[in-house]
Amino acid sequence: MRYAIEVDHVTRVFGGKGDKVHAKALDDISLQVDEGELFGLLGPNGAGKTTLIKILATLLLPSEGSVRVLGHDVVKEYNKIRARINMVSGGEISGYGLLTVRENLWMFSQFYGIPPKVARQRMDDLLERFGLLDKADAKVRTISTGQKQKMNVIRGFVTDPDLIYLDEPTLGLDVNASLAIRSFLRKWVKDTPGKTMLLTTHYMVEADELCDRVAIIDQGRILACDSPSNLKRMLKRATTFDIETTAFPGLDSMPSMDGLQGYNSKSVGDRALTRFVVNDEAVISEIISHISSKGGRIIALGKSEATLEDVFIHLVGRGLE
């Protein structure tokens, strides 16, 4: 099996002047992505996902370590990589507002030397698949955010890359637009064997649903890397409980308890929904009495299936959002 991406002990620091290091975005990470794989990078904001993508996209050099993309070194052989990759970032609108959707796509296709006829054909095909054909001749500045993001995704695929990086491609989109993009991604990987996709997201469901393998990244380090089902199997000994309570002070600062691996709270109006990952169910009574002592009242309590979010809580000790 050939690797589409090989990251070997990579560190990236962003420095100030002189020897001062301001931030370590990546800290000695290694991973391999197989050709034809849909690989996910899962982590909270600031985990280092975008930094890694930028290195893989030849936009940033690693401070230490080596990176090979499609068999080529990102530092020295970046010219050989660029023709075969593309990148789509969520929440970013590339191109020019005064041009139409079709003109913007055409412009970017020309930067990859795609013959105009082929580019036109691909554009029409993709515009149709995304339901954007009727907006093809609208100026970009007049279309909606979801439509712009669809155009952005089309831009990434119009060059028919062997490897594509999708950095939070559904960020801020409504359910329908997200679904359209996800279903396209799934189909693309299925229909084009040998093409590789690296997806970063902080939407657990997206990673769970789409990815062959997922690496969980936090504070510049990879904490685990496996298929979603294997990752969830890590929690074999652990159990997940959802407890709905009235809001109470100290919701976010549970004391450490034997058997409690992690938790994640969300407030919904005057109620709180907290997910606890425990490896000893006996700790639940201790959790309940803590909630009561703080003035919280239990409304509902239930055991649930493990998700990637639980894996994250298990590994990091806190929730993703």
Binding site: R82, M107, F108, Q110
Partner: protein, 269 residues
Amino acid sequence: MDWLLNLRAVKGRAYPRAVGGLREPSWMFFDTLLPLLGIAAFVFYYQALGAPEVYTGYVIIGGAMTAYWLNVLWSMATQFYWEKETGNLELYMMAPMSKMSVLAGMALGGMILTSVRAVSTIVLGVIIFQVEMDISSPGLLAAVFITTLIALYGLGMLFSSLYMLWGRGAWHMSNLMQEPIYLVSGFYFPVREIGFYFALGAAIIPITLGLDAMRQLLFGNETQGLLPVTTELALLLVSAVAFIVAAHFALKKMEYLGRKEGRLTMRWQ
């Protein structure tokens, strides 16, 4: 080098410049009528001073060339910086074409767009102020004009490369250069008036020699040129090549630095 890829990239980038710029109707007001007001003011200033009529012609030609100088400063030099802010630069950088093609495309599109403004300035200026020009050597005039544009936009490509990693400093640098170049390049008077050696120094900006040569060709003996027209044309050719080669190396260096320091994608500097 993949020539076909790069030619397509040039065309791809020139298109939004040439077409997008003309698509927004406000350009007609801002880019043709308003600049003419400033030019007219200089014409009236000369009239108030009792200057010979040929000076009106100098101002009209200078004013037309101003359009190119402003385009180079504001839409070439600062463009990569602006592209960075709008999120396009990283997409340009990770695309396989030579980044010189993007610059060349911007230059070509800019030249086409700006020519509309420059031509309208000349036409309106000639009609309103009754300027007489003598086009007895059209071939040489065209050669001087085209070479001037290539050299000037070559300089713009060099600036663009150098400014790529700068933040707002790039914008301010362009702003800073605008007026001094109007003065030393002789936009509103024959450049020789500022002194021979001083003007020769100012010839580093291609528009200095280009303007001087065009004035010599259009207004004949009345204009005391800096150097003979053919010498100026030769110097312009040299500077065109020099700026484009320098831009190529500067771009490579800046791209490397940008990747190393992570500044290709850093915004709001």
